[in-house]
Symmetry: C2
Subunit: 247 residues, 2 copies
């Protein structure tokens, strides 16, 4: 199933949880922190589809329903997982010009998605307003201060870059994990597809796809997502640079 988050429960409870207003330990040593950490482990390792309350509980040596003492439901748990991993992005002192800073922000977001591919599958609308989300936002906005852009423009520009990163990361991350998940290298996969495709594919009907697909397939193995990421990022930054220059 697609991954729902932001449970339908009490928003005040969610907020208290996110900011860890009262993180006590139970008698088995259970705690919100431990539950979230375990859930992240499972999602990182086996994908968000493998994340279930029962599995989290099992790994913690605890009954499934015990989790509900600490967390209202799975939706809220996912919210907590999100805020948790957003806290791990490195945030070096922002040196250099805005472009170097923004580039670093982009790369560190890509790294985040690489570490936690499931982030790409959870919705981003109305995100969990936790401390780490806000800290990340605050830090990333900093990359564009001092450029002469207005506050609103800074927000928009950052949003655009993050949108690009998330879209490109989706391709890059999935490409990177496809061999592992399917037990099949890209080459092997293509070796299976190609002869099947040849039977139905008509180069006359799709001349451009035939030519470019062949060229691209030859240039790098099937698809070099990293290269595409870099290219697009530089073009986007070029565009933003021109925009700033015109200000």
């Amino acid at each position: 199933m697609a991954v729902e988050h932001t449970g339908t429960g009490d928003p005040a409870r969610s907020m208290a949880l996110l900011w860890r207003a009262a993180d006590r330990e139970g008698r088995t040593g259970l705690s919100v922190d431990k539950i979230v950490a375990t859930a992240v482990e499972i999602a990182d390792g086996d994908g968000i589809t493998a994340l279930s309350m029962r599995r989290v509980a099992e790994r913690l040596g605890v009954g499934a329903m015990s989790l509900y003492t600490y967390v209202p439901g799975k939706g809220e748990l996912v919210d907590l997982m999100i805020d948790q991993v957003l806290g791990e992005t490195e945030r070096p002192e922002q040196a250099g010009d805005w472009r170097a800073r923004l580039e670093q922000v982009a790369r560190s977001n890509l790294a985040l998605y690489r570490r936690h591919p499931w982030l790409l599958q959870v919705g981003t609308a109305r995100p969990p307003m936790g401390p780490n989300l806000i800290a990340k936002y605050d830090y990333e906005l900093g990359a564009l201060t001092g450029t002469g852009l207005s506050d609103v423009e800074i927000d928009t520009a950052l949003t655009s870059v993050l949108a690009y990163v998330s879209g490109a990361a989706q391709t890059a991350v999935e490409a990177a994990q496809a061999p592992d998940r399917s037990g099949m290298t890209d080459d092997a996969w293509w070796a299976v597809q190609a002869p099947l495709l040849e039977k139905v594919f008509d180069p006359q009907r799709f001349p451009v796809a035939a030519r470019v697909g062949a060229a691209a397939g030859e240039a790098y193995g099937l698809v070099d997502a990293d290269h595409a990421f870099e290219f697009g990022l530089q073009r986007l930054l070029d565009g933003i640079e021109a925009f700033i220059a015109k200000r």
Copy 2:
């Protein structure tokens, strides 16, 4: 459960299905086409989480297991849904300069995601090699022909734009459907969050977020995803234009 696709089944069977090598009707009038169309309806209307074999069958007035006569499993059904909706993108005669053409491609992809938000939740690695996917690829590459870019560069540039669109669409589409899904307008949602956030949020600690967040929130309601989409797209196209000019 994030949404898995590309079933583990026989690739030859999948390919035959995608290209509709043998789409017969059963005695109840069932067919691959009808199953796929119904599944798309459900996913469009109630989200991909609401898509289940039982629901598809029910809507078709048929037992759940009957679907398996036509489709190997849910994974393959999702593959078929993907190729199906990729076939609906409008593809007007490509007139004007490359920039107008590429802009149109971007916008038509955004429209596609708007119509079928679940597309954003299914993986894109090793996509189902159906006729519509290939036709779309062929058409979209055409936007960048005659620019002096090499075939490989054309592929990379298109990939970048599509990555941006998918990332930005994720934000835009989710923002658009959040009120409907949650039964809460953005304003209402914020009215609940704001006072809770105020209790834990320290403007001293996050000065930039406080200032910019306030400015952005005031400028347009909470977040104007369309505006951000447009801004980023133009910057990216500006960057590509500069790249082409340098060739």
